[in-house]
């Protein structure tokens, strides 16, 4: 037939001889449900040499280091939940990005945060979003935060020992009220009122623990979330960029602001100096 030849733009070289073949059926893009291996002679040796776990500094000797380094935090108070994160992504000493979105909007009532391997977090939380949507379609009701976090924890358990790196907080407002869960790559799943995850988490905890009260007003809580991230980005080299802050309410989550932490530094510096002057 003359029609097919005219339409050929040369891509068939990579796909297969059969004109009915396309990128999907030929397997060139991989099979979505299968666990793909690198196309080398010894996949196991290749993986251990080039894909050391991105936990800690196990990828130090590699050519290409994994993207990680973060401060994320979330806490529950009388007015709902505040989720506050930074936006820096580092590969070793290189700042790969200053504008990473570390809060993943799973659905209008569920938020997930990203800490550890950026690829692992965004992939598996997107996968969680798919599972939550399937739950909604099958059960005709929104999934609870407890169930959503359990789905993610089960996935992490299934891949235990495969070198995934993910420390996330799943939060939302369901029938039982505002809920906050911490889930990580070990399969740990904790239900609590306040968590901070990432290389800068200890600095964030310092400010958070000292100034947290259950009866904070919404403005005070937002300010606390903002300050805790700022202080973490000041001291931790692997955190920085913007502070993205969300507030989870009964009606769903709301993005409050996205502020450059560098601007916050000079704002707080002025604040301190003015306070000292008036004393």
């Amino acid at each position: 037939m003359i029609g097919n030849d005219i339409l050929d733009i040369g891509s068939k070289k990579n796909v297969g001889d059969d004109p009915g073949d396309n990128l999907y059926t030929s397997g060139a893009l991989g099979t979505p449900t299968a666990f793909g291996l690198p196309r080398v002679d010894d996949p196991a040796a290749y993986c251990s040499a080039n894909f050391a776990s991105c936990c800690g500094d196990k990828d130090k000797g590699q050519e290409l280091k994994f993207a990680k380094g973060t401060t994320t935090l979330a806490f529950k108070f009388n007015g709902g939940i505040i989720v506050s994160v930074d936006s820096r992504s580092t590969m070793g000493a290189y700042v790969a990005s200053g504008t990473v979105k570390k809060v993943i909007e799973i659905n209008p009532f569920l938020l997930g945060t990203m800490a550890g391997g950026a690829a692992d977090c965004s992939f598996w939380e997107r996968n969680l979003g798919q599972q939550c949507r399937m739950y909604e379609l099958r059960n005709r009701r929104r999934i609870s935060v407890a169930a959503a976090s359990k789905l993610l924890a089960n996935t992490m358990n299934a891949y235990k020992g495969y070198g995934l790196s993910m420390g996330t907080m799943i939060t939302g407002w369901d029938e039982t009220g505002p809920q906050l869960y911490y889930v990580d790559n070990d399969g740990t799943r904790l239900h609590g009122k306040m968590f901070s995850v990432g290389s800068g988490s200890t600095y964030a905890y310092g400010v958070l623990d000292t100034y947290y009260r259950e009866d904070l007003t919404v403005e005070e809580a937002i300010d606390l979330g903002k300050r805790a991230i700022y202080h973490a980005t000041y001291r931790d080299a692997m955190s920085g960029g913007l502070n993205n802050l969300y507030h989870v309410t009964k009606e769903g989550w709301v993005k409050i602001h996205s502020i450059d932490v560098n601007d916050l530094h000079y704002m707080y510096k002025d604040e301190k100096e003015n306070a000292m002057v008036t004393d």
Partner: protein, 201 residues
């Protein structure tokens, strides 16, 4: 780093566990409950990573409940449950071991006997009068050796457990401010005291 210890007294078993979950230098949570009821009259104090703790105890609890449902409400004795737990640990050992060390305590209402079993992650099991898991054993076993005797009352048992908690808080490098104490007797499993309320989340 978990501290779990238990003793058998005349009429029941007391289990105490610390309430912290930590990783490296950070304490993630301070109000965890690591003593999980398996049935109306048995409970398991567990030590190990949170994922194995939760998955293993959920699996055991579900299977104990399944037995009751399949057998017209017949309950498993403490001994039967302990052997089931050990069997599960043993089967998983050479495939994907559960890294949990535990103390299983229960009271059989039928023959009015209390039983306490010490099990570790390698699926070894032994019935004991008292037991300690973790670093706490270095500090607490001697207290139990000194003070435990046959025919203790519940109050005497709780006093010994509190002595162990005090010793850990005095001498153990890792600060463990919160402990949860549970008891199982004729009336079933109940919480005697806790450092921070596990339900406060």
């Amino acid at each position: 780093m978990d501290s779990v210890f238990a003793l058998r007294y005349d009429g029941g078993v007391i289990i105490a566990a610390d309430q912290a979950n930590a990783r490296s230098i950070l304490v993630y949570q301070n109000n965890l409950d690591k003593i999980i009821p398996l049935s109306s009259h048995t409970m398991m104090g567990m030590s190990g990573p949170n994922s194995d703790l939760v998955n293993f105890s959920d699996f055991i609890r579900a299977n104990v409940k399944l037995y009751e449902l399949m057998n017209n409400g017949a309950t498993l004795t403490t001994d039967a449950q302990a052997n089931f737990v050990r069997g599960t640990l043993a089967t998983a050992l050479r495939k994907g071991p559960y890294q949990v060390n535990l103390l299983l305590g229960g009271f059989d209402v039928a023959d009015k006997k209390a039983g306490l079993y010490y099990m570790d992650y390698m699926a070894s099991m032994h019935p004991v009068n008292f037991g300690v898991q973790g670093y706490a054993s270095n500090f607490c076993l001697s207290i139990f050796d000194r003070d435990w005797k046959e025919g203790l009352t519940q109050e005497e048992g709780v006093k010994i457990v509190e002595k162990c908690i005090n010793e850990l808080q005095t001498r153990f490098l890792v600060a463990q401010p919160n402990f949860i104490i549970k008891v199982v007797d004729e009336k079933g499993v109940r919480t005697l005291s806790f450092g921070e309320d596990p339900a406060d989340v």
